[in-house]
Every structure is written in structure tokens, then in C-alpha cells.
Symmetry: C2
Subunit: 203 residues, 2 copies
Amino acid sequence: MMENVDKYELIMSSSRKLIEEIGFSALTMDKVAQKAGIAKGTVYLYFKDKNELMEKVLSLGFKRMFERIKGKVEKEKGGIEKLKTLISENLNYIYENRYFFKTIFLDEVNIVFLKKKSKESLNLRRKRYTNFIGEIIKSEMQSGRFRGDLDPLKVGYMLASLIKTNAIYNFINDKYELTEGMIKKDSEDIFNLLIHGIIRPHT
Amino acid sequence: MMENVDKYELIMSSSRKLIEEIGFSALTMDKVAQKAGIAKGTVYLYFKDKNELMEKVLSLGFKRMFERIKGKVEKEKGGIEKLKTLISENLNYIYENRYFFKTIFLDEVNIVFLKKKSKESLNLRRKRYTNFIGEIIKSEMQSGRFRGDLDPLKVGYMLASLIKTNAIYNFINDKYELTEGMIKKDSEDIFNLLIHGIIRPHT
DNA sequence: TTGCATAATGACTTTAAAGTCATTATAATA
DNA sequence: TATTATAATGACTTTAAAGTCATTATGCAA
């Protein structure tokens, strides 16, 4: 099946542009074809179905990101330098491809199929929670117990994210039934990470 | 419009159970009605449309979580204690409602509409990246520069999450055009948070 | 116990998007 | 240029799920 690489690339890039412009929920095969300036049937000559097309577009996006970061990081020597590079390269990549990752990050399924108004109402709820956390952190900063060089709201947001991520990590590893002790350990880990970071305290 | 509260609650709880069992992508109004043991038309007597039903179910879930955490946290005195309580209460709530949050957390739109095989392939890609980060952290732990009491893979996962969250935070605040300096600042903030935490170093 | 209002039903209609395929266009070869 | 193979087309078919509404059931007040 001698594929016309140019048209394959055209469909891929058109899909990617559409994802950036309208997100996943509004993306249809008709729109992909229209964006690429070809007939819908042609899309199906290069991709088995919508699922395959979306998978290829997403895979490519992550593959490129990973390869670039990996390349840069492996040039660094120490672990600390590696981590620094990893973080800044990852952020750089995200912002270079900002509209793609905006969709990836924000179009979570729990809100993507909802109407604009409902989305806003849920986002407001999330914001209220992170503000709540942010206020606690802010007051600790003002009293001098926490470093004052960070945006307290952002730190609040990150703490919420750490909590969520901890749970995701367990779920992904098929840990659904946690004992009280395991939850306690996780809580302490998150707390210590947030407060003291991961560096070894010199005693 | 004297609503029959019992039936309203019945539809809400049936929807919630369905979300836990099959996720958002497979949830249909027919299934909701079937689960509740009523006719589909009845569902539309209590909820304007599917969007409204989903919004109400999600809102209730988050509202309950927020209220419980808030109640517990406000009983604590210091910021440190508040944060400790917040984290453990949040985790407790998540695990008490584990199948609900599993769907909320894992059914991200970027994979939810994909078939199982595609999901697995994308999850593998994510795993490869977090493993990559985890290995760096692990070697630092082994050499004694990082504390050794944490699961390096989980820390890697959390770092990936911090990076992602940082970007989301900016996007949510309509910051899409970041200067090089802003990205640098963000990178440093994440790095410092991860390494040193948020406590003020005593000089 | 009858009549009226409210609630519930589920077969049916609508909608929207995926996916197909007979037909047409293009390009390569003889 | 004629012949054939390959690529492209878009009107049409299928699918699936949302949403509707004429009909039926239920419960309550007179």
C-alpha cells in the first residue's frame, strides 16, 4: 500500500491544527477533511478510522516532546543538572506547542462534553478550592515560615495537583484498596515533599 | 414545579454509580434510566438534558469533598497543621470515593474516546517518560544526595505532574504568551519546590 | 367513585457524526 | 494517444445516542 506521504502528513497536520483550534470534543472527520482541503473519503484511505488518526496525532506529539527532552537531558552530567534541564526543556516544549497542550491539559473528559456555562461553573469550583489552599500558604509566607518568593496561589494549585497525582499513580498501578496506613504514608510523603523537598537534610 | 426529591436523588445516584462503573464516555441516558429502573422520559422530567445531569452529579461530588475538607481543616490552628489535615483529608476522601475519582482522574479526554489498545499505547508512552524521570531521581537517592524514603517512580510521576500543573495554571489564567524569562522563572520555581520544598531555610 | 392533575412511560423522531462505495479524475506506461 | 492502475471524490448509508410526546398510570380531593 504505497502511501502518499505528503497527503498523510497533510491530514496529520490538519488534525493537529484542528485539535489546537477547537479541541477534541468538536473535532469531526468532516472538519478534518475540510481543513486539509480534501474529501472525507480520502482521509479514510490513509487512516483506518478516527481512532487511528487521533492516536497517531497524539503519539507523534508526545514522541517529539520526549525525544527532544531526552536528547538535551542526556547531554548533562549530574542528576541535579539533568533535572534542571528536564524541567526547563519540558516547559519550553509545552509553551512552544501551547495550543496543543492547552487542549491536552484542559479538555479533561470530566468537563469536555459539558457546555461552556457548566465548564465555567466547575472551573470556578476548582478555583475556589485552590484559592483556599493558596490562602493558607500565603499566610505562612507572610508570617515568614514559608519562603516568600513563590506565587502562593500557584503553590496551592500545585499542592492540589500533587495530591491528585499521588492518587493517579496508585490507580495506574492498580492500587485501589489502600489501608489506613498506606494513606497516611502517602499523606506524609506529599507533605514532606512540599515542605522540605527531596534533598537530603544535612544533619 | 414540586420535584419528587426521591426520584431526583435516585437518578443522581444511579448516574454516579454508572460513572464509577463504566466512565463518562460510555454513559448514555438509556443506561441511566435502566440503572435507576425508570423510563428514559422520566429522567428528562428531572433534568433538562444530559449536560445538566452530568453537571449536577460532578458538582455534588466536588461540593461534598470541599465541604468535608474545609470543615476539618478549619478546626486546626496553625498553617502547618491545616496543610497536613488538608492533604490527608483530601486523600481520604479520594480513596473513599475511589471509583468515582478513578474516572475523573484517568478518563482524560486525550484518551477517553480512544479504543483500549490505543489507550494502552499512550499510557505506555507516559510511563516511559515518568520512568525516565524516576531513574534520575533513583540514582540521586542511591548516591545519598536525595532522601531515600520516597518511591523514586512516584516522585518522578509527581515531578511530571508539577510541570504539567504549572502550565495548566498559566493557561487557566490566560497566560499563553510567556517570555523566556517567565519560563525560566517557572522552571526554577518547580525545581526549588521539588528540591527544597516551601519552608524557609534558616540561615 | 369519579374526575382531575400530576407523574411516568417507551416507542418514536431527530440529530449528528462515522464510515462506505460507485463514480470520476489523475497519472503512469506502452 | 489509448489503456490501465491508482487516487480522490462526496453523496449516501449506517449507527448511535439524545431528546420528544401522545398515551397510560397513579394518587388525591371533592
